[in-house]
Symmetry: C2
Subunit: 178 residues, 2 copies
């Protein structure tokens, strides 16, 4: 059965973006050898992405080509009239937990929870998250959108893997302890 | 010259304590082999501790013996009448940046910044922090006192060391990039 994996970059102070959604600080870390921090390997196991509407619009605002070509992408929103505008991208506006359950029983590859904070809160609340891969950047941002906003359900995790890179980035992989 | 080191345990979601200051979740992580996560080694290099008044009172509230025996401890407070009640513990109520500068030029062993969030913010703002050792517990607490509260000065760090332990704890050591 596929896993639901939160795979996300965070600052040392747990921010996933500046308050205006910008992620310039991710790109400004010197990376002379063009490391991908395991992204290609991760992506090879993914069939589906899920993201919140705000995150979707942040990605659209980057002004780059749709980064999830070849994947089925789902945008969670309560707006039943919301229209997506990118390849293989669909709105999910009904019971998300039921949708994820259905997805897990009908697809084979893993499901990438892209974010943002509100959707992460929901997935934790409903115990829908199986794994987290946190890519920790060596920056204290000081201000911004929190990876883990307040009012989350308490949960325990098992450390599965650590990878560090010459640029100072650390990938921590955790599996949900049930 | 001694370094100022923030050495602190944090949850995966960047909390250092529950909202009421309690740290039961630190003690409830199974640790059958009694690992100290490098604490004794760290402590051997420390001569001085600095903590905020609220943190001091949280430590007093633990109802255990004073944990910093043998060290000079300083409690930062704007209350010039504040009275400390533990061994070798002194109030600092004047310019803390000047005090830290003086401490660095008159002592040899490193200075442990114990916390909490407000003092960490001040040390970052004034560029007083040389090193951070973050002990990351595999728990999402969901609610509590933030290690890095908002409105921090942005700063970049260099990853110096990673240690992981069988209990799922990871120690990340960073040095300030100036």
């Amino acid at each position: 059965m596929p896993k639901v994996i939160l795979y996300i970059a965070t600052s040392l102070d747990g921010k996933i973006a500046r308050s205006d959604g910008s992620v310039d600080w991710l790109e400004s870390l010197p990376n002379p050898n063009g490391l991908d921090y395991g992204y290609a390997e991760f992506l090879a196991g993914i069939g589906t992405t899920i993201m919140g509407r705000k995150t979707y619009e942040v990605v659209l605002g980057f002004g780059v080509d749709w980064p999830y070509v070849g994947l089925q992408s789902y945008v969670a929103t309560s707006d039943q009239a919301y229209v997506t505008s990118t390849p293989d991208t669909f709105r999910v506006s009904y019971d998300l937990a039921a949708f994820v359950g259905q997805l897990k029983s009908t697809t084979e590859k893993d499901i990438w929870l892209i974010g943002g904070g509100e959707l992460i809160r929901y997935f934790l609340e409903k115990d829908l998250l199986d794994e987290m891969i946190l890519t920790i950047f060596p920056t204290i941002l000081g201000e911004g959108i929190q990876l883990f906003p307040g009012h989350l359900k308490e949960s325990n995790w098992q450390l599965m893997d650590i990878k560090s890179f010459e640029t100072g980035i650390v990938n921590l992989t955790y599996q949900r302890l049930k």
